[in-house]
């Protein structure tokens, strides 16, 4: 069994990121690149998408936490991602409770139990 260590990255609202940084997951490298992005009303979708792509391309990240309402903004990118590492986890945020029907993994496996063969792309 091979084992190695990696970081956890977060894309979410201020309180969620603050909480996880308090838990000790924050990492700043010598170029001042962080492993988190705080999304507020000034953050553009382009920034979120670029950060998501950057985190999923980094080899030192094992899990990317993303608030579900943020993931909904870049749903086409999140749904297209299918690598096991880093794992993408959609988490609830303070103002938006978790909706399993919007989760990319659960939506992918949901149509296995239903008679609808169209798959997760049908929900748009």
């Amino acid at each position: 069994m091979a084992s190695n260590t990696a970081l956890l990255a977060i894309i979410g609202d201020e309180d969620t990121v603050t909480g996880f940084l308090l838990a000790g997951v924050g990492n700043v490298d010598i170029r001042r690149k962080t492993n988190y992005l705080i999304v507020d009303n000034k953050t553009t979708v382009k920034t979120i998408e670029d950060t998501f792509k950057e985190f999923t391309a980094r080899e030192d990240i094992a899990i990317v936490l993303i608030s579900q309402y943020v993931a909904n903004m870049i749903r086409f990118v999140v749904d297209r991602y299918n690598k096991p590492i880093p794992a993408i986890l959609e988490i609830p945020s303070k103002d938006h409770p978790y909706d399993p029907s919007q989760d990319s993994i659960l939506a992918r496996v949901k149509h296995m139990f239903s008679s609808d063969p169209s798959g997760p792309t049908n929900r748009y």
């Binding site: 091979a2 084992s3 970081l7 909480g19 996880f20 940084l21 590492i85 986890l89 992918r108 296995m112």
Partner: protein
């Protein structure tokens, strides 16, 4: 799954070759059927575990947000804000350990092409590793946590037998991570250690107890997150396996039908 057997048995010209090949394929399909059933059970089990973990995660996060809101109310909005985050180069004190689990599914029976395809479907297990103040690491996972706790207890019992009670208490205080964050001197000690600092210090030396409670809630949430991640990769892997085997069965049916037609 029985379909290819039925197709072969209903063929017009039945000879010895076809009978022997049909019996061999029936054995193979039975084996595959059992394996597929086992994978479906594993899939449902993983899905159930994932949903349970999601509930626990949502509870921990809600608690954490409530504590942060309380801390912000007592300390003031300016005292808990992203402007206070440290941007000095620093390492994360909590990191994720990723281990690739052995694929027990592939150990049974000889490998054919379909199973070789499934070799690409890996299953990973995530666990939390806390960088200790003393430079050591603590691994926290559902199984690992129990093991480390029991081993720590056994070590402490040995010290208790040989050493004094005072030493035991001091060592116990150092072992307990929550107690570390409650002591102002130890926060300073953590800040002095290279590249690893306690994020509570960003918000001042005397912070609200609600902020400490929020820190604990989010640490609990992190433990649930690694469980969710492990369950999610298991769901993904078993789902991919079932989908692949469905495709291969469907492909075999199409081949048999095309052979039967002329």
């Amino acid at each position: 799954m029985e379909h290819d057997r039925i197709v072969q048995l209903t063929e017009g010209g039945v000879n010895e070759d076809s009978i022997s090949s049909s019996s061999t394929s029936s054995c193979v399909t039975d084996g595959k059927g059992t394996q597929e059933d086992a994978e479906i059970l594993r899939f449902l089990d993983a899905l159930d575990h994932l949903i349970c973990c999601r509930d626990s995660l949502a509870r921990s996060l809600s608690q954490g947000w409530m504590e942060i809101a309380s801390a912000r109310y007592s300390m003031g909005p300016a005292r808990i804000s992203q402007a206070l985050f440290s941007l000095k180069p620093q390492s994360a004190s909590t990191i994720i350990s990723v281990s690739e689990t052995e694929n027990s599914m592939l150990e049974t029976g000889p490998k054919d092409e379909e199973e070789q395809v499934c070799d690409a479907l890996q299953e990973f297990q995530f666990s939390i590793r806390n960088l200790d103040v003393k430079g050591g690491t603590k691994i926290k996972s559902r199984e690992g946590n129990i093991n480390s706790e029991t081993s720590a207890q056994s070590n402490l019992r040995q010290r208790h037998k040989s050493g004094s009670m005072k030493n035991h208490i001091v060592e116990d205080d150092f072992e307990n991570d929550d107690d570390l964050s409650n002591d102002g001197d130890l926060i300073q000690h953590r800040a002095d250690s290279p590249n690893v600092s306690d994020p509570l210090a960003w918000f001042g030396t005397l912070v609200s107890p609600h902020l400490r409670a929020a820190q604990k809630s989010f640490k609990d949430a992190l433990e649930m997150i690694v469980e969710v991640a492990t369950a999610q990769t298991r769901v993904q892997r078993t789902y991919d396996f079932i989908k692949e085997s469905d495709k291969s069965v469907h492909g075999a049916d199409v081949c048999n039908e095309s052979k039967a037609e002329p």
